[in-house]
Symmetry: C2
């Protein structure tokens, strides 16, 4: 990964936006991921998927979530010390399909300096993953630990 600009807590403000690169959801990888972690017919087999609620092969939502993390980590959210989260809220408004080209747009929605640990803070980020048609396939709102610039030990 390239060593691009790194954002510290001091550099962030509510409303700030970041855009990731892109991830192509390949059918073969979709099926492999599903076989390992989410072995349900609509993630594994085209014919079974056609007959399912998804009406066609759909990526496991956890594959979509993992792809979003890859996009955030590889430049989509360039926070100093990386992306360390405690949890958050997720949603999959639409399925991800074979061949989809996905990217994530992120926005800082809240910044809370830590009272107990003054060298860091909690940043709430809302990430929205779009497919090539501009449709939202995944939403993630997460609380992340971000260090202050001056406090590097």
């Amino acid at each position: 990964m390239k060593e691009a600009e790194q954002f510290y807590l001091d550099d962030l403000h509510v409303g700030q936006r970041f855009t990731s690169g892109s991830y192509v959801m390949e059918a073969a990888r979709m099926k492999e991921f599903a076989a390992e972690f989410d072995p349900q017919p609509f993630h594994l087999d085209e014919a079974a998927a056609e007959a399912s609620v998804f009406k066609g092969l759909a990526a496991s939502g956890w594959h979509t979530a993992a792809a979003a993390m890859r996009l955030l980590v590889t430049g989509g959210l360039p926070f100093a010390n990386g992306i360390v989260g405690f949890g958050g809220e997720i949603a999959w408004p639409k399925p991800t399909r074979p061949g989809d080209t996905l990217h994530v747009e992120s926005e800082i929605v809240e910044i809370t300096p830590s009272r107990s640990k003054p060298h860091q803070g909690i940043v709430t980020v809302r990430g929205t993953m779009f497919n090539q048609d501009g449709e939202v396939v995944y939403l993630l709102t997460a609380k992340l630990l971000v260090p202050k610039r001056m406090s590097q030990k």
Copy 2:
């Protein structure tokens, strides 16, 4: 997967519990998963992880989440038509470590019959993933689509 008992909406009640099998978090797979989806030093390299906030190699939270899904799909939450979710809330209270043996305990916390689609309902499930020491490493509260028994077309 064995074809064990399948639970329909009619079979579920608030407070009902399910227990999954187990998943062993292997160091090699942790690093592979992280290299593909979460390439941060504390998920990839023991020495870097020792120096990080994790104080030792930690699985990507998305690997932990995917492992939990595997446990739910392979008997941990035997819902008819599989596990189809819209989203939910997730949290990682503690890191998952190499060699951890994980399982998920799930509880039905809410059942909402659909008004627009009377043959199905929305079931809210709270899943808690424990390691071999009984520590909670992952929490998932998700809304799932579950069909009624009588309405199979």
